[in-house]
């Protein structure tokens, strides 16, 4: 049962990612990306990480994707015209990317299949994540809040200068 769900989710995730990089209509690409982010959230559920799945749906598929779709529809960049010519540098870099994929696939090719340990009660839930976040990872948490503040001020500055 879980295996079937896993293969289905993996298929959806890879197909929507391919649509994002290959399709020519930016609106279709945005919607495919939204579906992709939802499939990643489904992976998180399968991996017993309910909090991460929730945040993925709310933050990524909700907030960031709305922002993307908003900008796409605001700018209406249209198609890219003729298919982009692929230069020599891009070709080499793609080959390098294929090698990166091979390195990432190495665990499978080498038969890496650890037995999954039992998880404690409340694993991946809001309470356990929050406890960890405010004890062991307090400093990175504060750094992230400062980063978000700086991003907000930066975005405001960029938007305001256009009005003046």
């Amino acid at each position: 049962m879980t295996e079937g769900l896993f293969y289905l989710t993996a298929f959806v995730a890879v197909m929507t990612a391919a649509v994002v990089i290959l399709h020519r209509n930016p609106v279709v690409e945005s919607l495919a990306l939204a579906l992709h982010l939802c499939s990643i959230a489904f992976f998180f559920v399968l991996l017993s990480a309910p909090f991460a799945a929730m945040i993925q749906i709310i933050l990524y598929a909700g907030a960031i994707m709305v922002l993307f779709l908003f900008v796409v529809m605001l700018l209406d960049p249209g198609g890219e015209g003729k298919a982009g010519k692929v230069g020599r540098a891009q070709l080499y870099a793609t080959i390098l990317g294929a090698f990166a994929l091979l390195a990432a696939l190495f665990p499978v090719l080498a038969g890496y299949e650890p037995t999954l340990p039992e998880t404690p009660a409340g694993y991946g839930g809001v309470e356990s994540i929050g406890t960890l976040l405010f004890t062991e990872y307090l400093f990175p948490f504060e750094a992230a809040s400062i980063l978000l503040l700086a991003a907000m001020i930066g975005a405001l500055y960029l938007a305001k200068r256009e009005i003046d």
Partner: protein, 100 residues
């Protein structure tokens, strides 16, 4: 039971698709979307390995990656809108302002 190695393979495949998207597309918006795909592939690997070791540190890291992605999307899309207003295009080949 989710096969750990296969999930890592899917994560690697998604990351490579993101890299290819950044390399072959010229619209800044699509390049941004490809970057999101790469960040998500990394998040998937984090959560998978966190499950394989029954710890939660990987999930915390995925949380921080999402925070950085949110900041990046806000500033990046503001820059794209500002550039589009000036040049009426999101083609990265035409943006050579900081090129030597």
């Amino acid at each position: 039971m989710v096969p750990t190695g296969l999930v890592l393979a899917v994560s690697g495949l998604l990351f490579t698709l993101g890299v290819i998207g950044v390399l072959i597309r010229r619209s800044a918006l699509v390049i941004f979307m490809s970057i999101e795909i790469m960040l998500n592939a990394a998040n998937l690997a984090f959560v998978t390995l966190s499950r394989a070791h029954a710890g939660m540190d990987g999930q915390i890291f995925a949380f921080f990656v999402m925070a950085v992605a949110a900041a990046e999307a806000a500033v990046g899309l503001a820059i794209i809108v500002a550039v589009f207003k000036r040049r009426h295009s999101t083609d990265v080949d035409q943006m050579a302002l900081l090129k030597w």
